[in-house]
Point group: C3
Chain length 243, copies 3
């Protein structure tokens, strides 16, 4: 459901967002490949919206041609394909505004043969232009600036950490993910077996992938954008790795 909503994007700073189900990003949608996905979308917001899914689906399920007016609803229904880290966002025009306002979220499609068990996380990279000047004033992961700096993510060294990562930041040409003190396997888009072994990946808007970390050490490790400005405006956090 789309609804207009004030969301807290930094301590004490509220943003007049357009949301799916009241949060930015919206809810995680997850399916196994070839599952029939059915999403009923009710627009309770003040503007026409849609849901545009990345992935394979018929043209009339694409969230471009069938705009959903305020008060109306639409049901998206198609087999979830292909496996990987997909995403969804509003595709109403002006596109820039509908994304910047917060209408996006993660869409995970698991492969038929499930990935090995892991400590799983979703990280959607966000930016918030709170003063409407066409530049982001705050950056975050899954929402508010510095959230995971204040509340570090506790993970175990003994099991792989798997992150479903997507960049939905508007205005900036790229965003990135950098891990401190360790390396990870990065599967771009997550739809094939190829991975890069690194500690820094770059994504433009709409790009996404799957990160797998096997921590070598316990302790506190930072993760953040390797764009200093984004880091200083909120896109940073900590892993607390325990035995």
């Amino acid at each position: 459901m789309a609804e207009d909503r004030q969301v807290e994007v930094a301590k004490g700073v509220f943003f007049s967002a357009w949301t799916y189900n009241g949060t930015v990003p919206g809810p995680v949608i997850r399916a196994t490949e070839d599952d029939l996905l059915r999403v009923t979308f009710a627009n309770a917001g003040s503007h026409p919206h849609t849901i545009h899914f990345h992935g394979i689906h018929p043209s009339n399920m694409d969230g471009v041609f069938e705009t959903v007016e305020p008060g109306a609803s639409y049901t998206y229904e198609f087999p979830a394909r292909p496996y990987g880290m997909q995403l969804y966002h509003c595709h109403s025009t002006p596109l820039k505004k509908h994304i910047a306002k917060g209408l996006y979220g993660a869409f995970i499609i698991d492969p038929p043969k499930l990935r090995k068990p892991a400590q799983e996380l979703v990280m959607v990279l966000t930016g918030f232009d709170t003063d409407g000047d066409g530049e982001n004033n705050f950056y975050g992961v899954n929402g508010p600036a510095f959230y995971f700096a204040k509340y570090p993510i506790r993970v175990r060294r003994s099991q792989t950490v798997r992150i479903y990562l997507a960049n939905l930041t508007e205005f900036d040409p790229i965003n990135s993910f950098h891990l401190h003190g360790d390396f990870f396997r990065y599967y771009p888009t997550g739809s094939s077996d190829y991975f890069e072994y690194t500690d820094t990946v770059m994504l433009c808007q709409g790009q996404r992938g799957i990160i797998e970390i096997d921590f070598a050490n316990t302790g506190r490790f930072m993760f953040h954008a390797h764009q200093s400005e984004f880091t200083e405006l909120g896109w940073m956090g900590f892993f607390e790795v325990i035995d």
Copy 2:
């Protein structure tokens, strides 16, 4: 042949371009690997120009040291290598201006063992700074803004669609290609067998690659940059997929 030319970059908007053979981008040059390529370049424009090819060739065929004055000509001759999606552009200084003015084009080198038959397209990503303020006012594929939105590209579902993609946009750090409703194989540079399976790729200026799409569905599917601003200023189009 280089010539100064007014080109239409959006409906009713003309741009004082510097062109190869009268168009922006210039003509597609295509050869098979190891073919002897011979290009005679006559400069009928008002400024010194060159042709700088991406690929392997001798230093004096590089279009850097041998500037071709207005009224002069030069013959570039070398074996076409390596196979892949290459490109060419003017390398006179100031480099920024000679590229922004439109002096670039696609250069395809086919592998000795030809790729499998496909519906082939070339897409050169362009930007036009019509008011000379150092920012692009219009974006397009192979030229005018919104061209393939007005004239969708008709393709058949039964055969692979192969796109030779290159980014020659000036001023912006990156550009990208996003396909709606389906996935593609992306061969960066097109000079090896590696591909990524995705629906969104990012390119800086000078980067290029080969896209192969096997459409699962018929219907109308959008393609565009995943930078909202570029999309809204003209870099978007449609595939019309028929059986």
Copy 3:
């Protein structure tokens, strides 16, 4: 050792840098995988600094939590892992300033089974904001603008040229490396066997990789960013390939 130092960033232009050992970039640190690395860092500068290494190491060796005050020192000690092209930089806040001021360098970890012999080079991509307006006025490789244009790098055609490449440019979202007249193998991060065969690669800050060139021809070949502005402000040079 960190020290404040005037460094020449273009002919006759000096920049008030913060340096490791007096130069920007700092010294190359090189080890073989699993070697015990021990770096004693004395802060003789006027601000608190650290050394943050990319790679695998304990949390207290990460250069984030243990700030080294002016006059103090700290010893970083950990096994060098994983093999590849790593890098180091100061992680004091404001991060943007400590990187822009010049506190970074290359950190090469060789694999246990050494790479095949080659003509080896390190290239750290730099930018200098000499007027403090938050934009770079000069760009370079390993330091001053146009250095390798004035002093071309002489290499032999008969042996592979291997470049350890890293981007530490602040302010700009991306930087890139483009080679004229030939192709290279690019190993992103240099920590696995995967490579791309191309002539243009793009890196955000903190990204790095290993380039291997087998020149086909002798002669003079340019290399530079494929962002025209960076090229024109100093990020370009020449290889002089001899037999």
